[in-house]
Symmetry: C2
Subunit: 497 residues, 2 copies
């Protein structure tokens, strides 16, 4: 190769190959959730495992490590250097763990998760706990290995896989602050909303009409259907590849708001993916920055924009046109339905105000688990105490709607939960910045002009991908690193204003 950067070029071409093969993995993964008939499961699992092993071999090829060292010495552009930094991060992650640990984790987590699918509906904590202990033991082993290699604290080392650069000290400070004001805010909001009349929509809501409404809203939100689709799956997600984004939702005919808002949520993920820098696609620098940043996009769409009274006023006539006129479909009533606050057991059903409580309690427990301060047997008591303290909800004996409700722990995903609430905070920070830069933002949203929002997100978040560290990205976008005060102000304005 006649280039001044032969090692870098070689690396870039390896990552293009990885991107191409990950494309097939992503489509097969989407198909698994959206299409696959049940008897296809075994063959699909074998195919995906084969590909995972192949990709792992490619990502841990010793030649890559050598190439990364050589590329360091080459005369790279600023963007190439950012790309090399992300390559190195991925290489560290891929090579950090011995193959034997990864294999043991696969066996233990898939066994635990499989059993959990039966144990959860049966509320069988006694059956679940021993398997979760095995998963936790390996997660601790993994965290210690990663910590030894990186110099991070064990929990930080796990969290860094999802949220590069984020540390417990910062999360403790941010979540500690939320912890102080959130229970009081929730009580205030409940008291305020108790004064408001809310009219419930009357179903049924035909699935085909709901689908058409969702597609209409997705278009309004700028999603490119020439480069993506909407389908149905049991658990909604945003999958596929940046060049072909696959959104999923689910429909029930007795209710339409959950599906509609969920679809708006996934559309935020989808627009991030569709607007990653095309000319860099395939390279690590062109990948979404982090899980919190990704969630900041879905929540910018679902909460900041989608639950904005001005946007809901645009939704109302579309809802009426879809299902026929109902008293519940006035802009004001629809907004009240969408922003209803009610403490409950289940994280994924929680509203914007109570959601952080669910995340904080999980964060506190899983951090203590990983750092050896508490054990699996301590979880139920901790759960009950924190749910009562944060949300005033009694979870005693109700394991299935308590510590057994999420797939994260049985599948070994420790360190992920904080991203959800960090994402909500970043989303509030982006909109606070937009309002500072565009004082008429709310009026424009109310007038149906969404372009300022999309332009800002595209310029400041989507096209920036992984060019900067998260802190640097936040500073460039908003003038400051993560600042949870914007989230508090957002909740106070919307729910108490």
């Amino acid at each position: 190769m006649s280039t001044a950067t032969p090692a870098y070029e070689q690396l870039a071409s390896t990552w293009t190959r990885l991107h191409n093969l990950e494309h097939l993995q992503a489509i097969a993964g989407w198909d698994h959730a959206a299409n696959m008939p049940p008897k296809g499961n075994e063959a699909r699992a074998a195919a995906l495992a084969e590909m995972a092993a192949l990709l792992h071999r490619m990502r841990t090829d010793p030649n890559l490590g050598h190439g990364l060292q050589c590329a360091e010495q080459e005369p790279l552009s600023e963007e190439q250097r950012a790309n090399l930094r992300e390559m190195q991060r991925q290489w560290q992650a891929a090579t950090a763990l011995p193959e034997s640990l990864v294999q043991r984790q696969q066996i233990v987590t898939s066994r635990c998760e499989h059993a959990w699918r039966q144990q959860r509906p049966a509320n069988d904590w006694a059956g679940f706990a021993p398997q979760l202990k095995e998963v936790l033991a390996l997660a601790r082993e993994e965290a210690q290995l990663l910590a030894d290699k990186s110099g991070l604290r064990p929990y930080d080392a796990l969290m860094d896989r999802f949220e590069p650069g984020m540390r417990c000290t910062q999360v403790d400070q941010v979540f500690g602050d939320v912890r102080r004001w959130l229970p009081g805010l929730i009580q205030q909001v409940i008291a305020k909303q108790a004064q408001e009349d809310v009219i419930l929509p009357v179903g049924p809501f035909a699935i085909e009409k709901q689908r058409a409404l969702c597609e209409q809203v997705i278009r309004l939100l700028g999603f490119d259907f020439e480069a993506g689709r909407l389908d149905v799956s049991t658990h909604p997600f945003c999958g596929g590849v940046p060049e072909d984004v696959r959104l999923t939702t689910r429909f029930r005919d007795d209710e339409f708001i959950t599906s509609l808002m969920g679809t708006i949520h996934e559309t935020g993920h989808g627009r991030y993916e569709q607007n990653l820098p095309r000319e860099w696609l395939g390279q690590p620098m062109a990948q979404a920055r982090s899980m919190a940043l990704h969630e900041s996009q879905s929540l910018s769409f679902e909460m900041q924009l989608g639950s904005h009274p001005g946007f809901v006023a645009r939704l109302a006539p579309m809802v009426t046109a879809t299902f026929g006129a109902q008293p519940a479909f006035t802009p004001q009533n629809l907004h009240r339905l969408i922003t209803r606050v009610k403490p409950g057991f289940i994280r994924v059903d929680a509203d914007e105000v109570t959601y952080p409580a669910h995340v904080i309690l999980r964060y506190e427990i899983e951090k203590a688990l990983i750092e050896g301060e508490v054990e699996v047997d301590d979880i139920p008591a901790l759960w009950d105490a924190k749910m009562m303290e944060l949300l005033g909800v009694d979870t005693r004996g109700n394991f299935k709607d308590g510590a057994m409700q999420d797939v994260h722990w049985p599948s070994g995903l420790f360190g992920y939960f904080p991203c959800y609430s960090l994402g909500a905070m970043y989303a509030a920070q982006w909109f606070a910045t937009m309002r500072r830069q565009m004082p008429d933002l709310d009026a424009r949203i109310g007038a149906g002009d969404l372009a300022p929002v999309f332009d800002w997100l595209r310029d400041n978040i989507w096209t920036q991908a992984s060019r900067w560290t998260t802190d640097e990205l936040a500073r460039r976008a908003s003038g400051e690193p993560l600042n949870a005060a914007h989230f508090k102000a957002h909740l106070e304005t919307r729910y108490l204003g």
Copy 2:
């Protein structure tokens, strides 16, 4: 590995890996046709090319060649030996051609096929011919290389990729025979059908109703929807993997019979795939025997069974229940519609009786092209003469409905066409055998008892997969190798009886 057959075991494990990766290729290929939005095309093409290159490297790994030699000496079971035979066949095919030729072919055929998509609607033979000449030159080079290696005639070497063991001498004899009786038979059928009144169905036929009817018929035909799906694509096909078969069809709301019969056709392919021997899946021995054998299944379903008057009598009430009563929906009239014979320009629209004429003329021309007896510039005159001779149809100047109508030549698929009619002949042979073994077969089909047909096909064809050579399979199933007399008898019975 503590086994007496270490080389064989190693080979089997390589083929299992290939099977796993081909699974992802197949699902992504199906998704490309059934789901993919237009802007996903470039990334999908890159992903599929990456996988094709990876599979090619695995299939041509020199270690495989060595392993195949070693395994020859090992104490294998009869089934393992059959599997080894098929491994060797695939290895020969994969390693027969130099990489440089394969790459040139990819470039030239994809350019020619791409241009053809514009040139065909424009009837632009002058633009098409120079590109087809390039494709032909490489196909001749390929045929000669394969011939040198195998000792076969050049055209035989190409045909052997699709129909192992089939040779020109046999096809010449079989098709030569058909050539003699077919034009006369067509005239007799047309004269006979001219005496019959046919009532045309009155549309429109709602797509959702058509889809429901197709799914009902597919179930009736024993397709397992727990291990497969029906979707829509521009060109119907049977894709996916044996464990998860993906049928596709297409719908127009002014006509339903084409889609229904096409779906029945694909269901035949699908049941073959769904009933390949499960315990051997992943190994070459468990793959469908050949393209003609595959076509013999789709045509067993569409023509032998699906167009059987007894089966059509079962369809008629389903059609009435779907679209409401019409004079056209009597069993007799529906059967007349399904079995209507009319010489035409287009192969894929042809009925069962005129179809072989389309295949024979293509076979005669492509064999002469590959063996250097004629050139691309000779095609139009040959086409016109043969169409007039075989079907009495004037194609002069109409290239788009003539030699430019099929994708096969622009994409370099020489040697494939005979499989279609060989498949029709095998299908007739299977049903002749069933009637010999079960004299009440037609009565049972008329009574709605399809189990004897499915049982026979499962035991004699589907589960036999590639255990035997095609000739041996045919002998075991029907007591004789390919015998086209059964096809002639079938046409005479159904259309002149």
